[in-house]
């Protein structure tokens, strides 16, 4: 930053003991902070990658359950070949037989009983299938939310990487005893120029985002 106003350099020989000990403190502590951040970032990346791998194994089973749910819904369709239409189809086929005045009463009663049993069986099947379809849909929605949740690691990683870099710059500034270090305003301008996310700008300006810190405008823009 050749055009930046520089902090007045301090001659170490003339630094106060307090200033020297502060410099020593920062030179000792900043690299430790930097390493902690790097490790945290790396571990979060590994953890999310492992979770995603495990999730990738579960994914096909969820897809299969979804497909089976669709097949069951199809099988339960109202058409005559579907289970839900079975009762109606049986009633239609048996109607002329039941209406035959020559049909023995016992036979008519037996057929009526069979129709009741068919109706009960169909109802039971529908009662099993409906919650299954609902649960499958719920799982699919939660899967979408999990995919979105995993992506926060990337945002956090970017923020931490920026801080790591800035800690390294601050260390260099202390190590050179402030020689060549930019003024605070220039430092902050440079830092802000590297932000990608709305919440970084808000944090920089100490503005309350009022949410958990995600860009709400995530609609797709087509050019």
């Amino acid at each position: 930053m050749p055009n930046s106003p520089m902090i007045q350099s301090n001659d170490p020989a003339h630094s106060s003991p307090a200033s020297q000990s502060l410099t020593e403190l920062c030179l000792g502590v900043l690299p430790v902070w930097e390493r902690h951040l790097a490790t945290s970032r790396s571990q979060s990346e590994v953890a999310v990658t492992q979770m995603l791998k495990a999730f990738a194994d579960i994914g096909p089973h969820i897809d299969l359950a979804e497909r089976q749910s669709e097949q069951i819904t199809e099988a339960l369709s109202q058409c005559d070949a579907g289970v839900s239409g079975l009762t109606r189809a049986c009633e239609r086929v048996l109607a002329p037989v039941l209406a035959d005045p020559l049909l023995p009463a016992a036979a008519g009663a037996a057929m009526g009983e069979v129709l009741v049993m068919v109706r009960r069986a169909v109802d039971a099947l529908e009662n099993i299938a409906k919650p299954f379809a609902h649960e499958t849909q719920m799982v699919a929605e939660q899967v979408d939310r999990m995919y979105m949740g995993f992506q926060y690691q990337d945002r956090i990683s970017q923020m931490m990487a920026l801080i790591e870099g800035d800690i390294a710059r601050l260390y260099e500034a202390f190590a050179s005893d402030g020689v060549g270090a930019p003024a605070l305003s220039d430092w902050l301008v440079r830092l802000e120029s590297q932000y990608a996310m709305t919440e970084q700008h808000q944090d920089h300006q100490a503005k309350d985002s009022g949410d958990s810190g995600n860009d709400s405008n995530n609609e797709t823009t087509f050019f």
């Binding site: 979408d144 979105m148 990337d154 945002r155 990683s157 990608a196 797709t220 087509f222 050019f223």
Partner: protein, 121 residues
């Protein structure tokens, strides 16, 4: 034949999320960790579309788009920018470079698949 999407992001976990969303929708996926590695993959093979991050080491997303547009075989390959950047100035930069769409992370897989299907026709 499944369409092939090139996913470019320096985050392995993000690539994994995109891969899972796209393969679940029937696409084949190629992966690259930065723009330069992605360019090396544009070697004549069939790539129907690219989904590209912006902030990456070695070669960023905007540089990749500009470079890809210089390759005759991939000049018309649609590129979707998938990034944490939401500033309009950055979007304009992507548009000027030749990107076809812009989506901000975190994205919903349904939203991504829908955008890819629209661009990949």
């Amino acid at each position: 034949m499944a369409k092939t999407i090139l996913v470019i992001d320096d985050s392995a976990s993000l690539r994994q999320v995109v891969r899972m969303a796209l393969t679940g929708a029937g696409y084949d996926v190629l992966e690259a960790g930065d723009g330069k590695a992605a360019l090396a993959m544009l070697d004549g093979r069939q790539v129907n579309m690219a989904v590209c991050d912006i902030n990456m080491p070695v070669m960023n997303g905007i540089e990749f788009v500009k470079a890809a547009k210089q390759l005759p075989a991939y000049k018309f390959m649609p590129i979707l920018m998938l990034t944490t950047e939401s500033q309009d100035s950055k979007k304009e930069e992507g548009k000027a470079a030749g990107a076809k769409a812009w989506m901000v992370k975190p994205f919903s897989p349904t939203q991504l698949v829908s955008a890819v299907a629209k661009l990949c026709t």
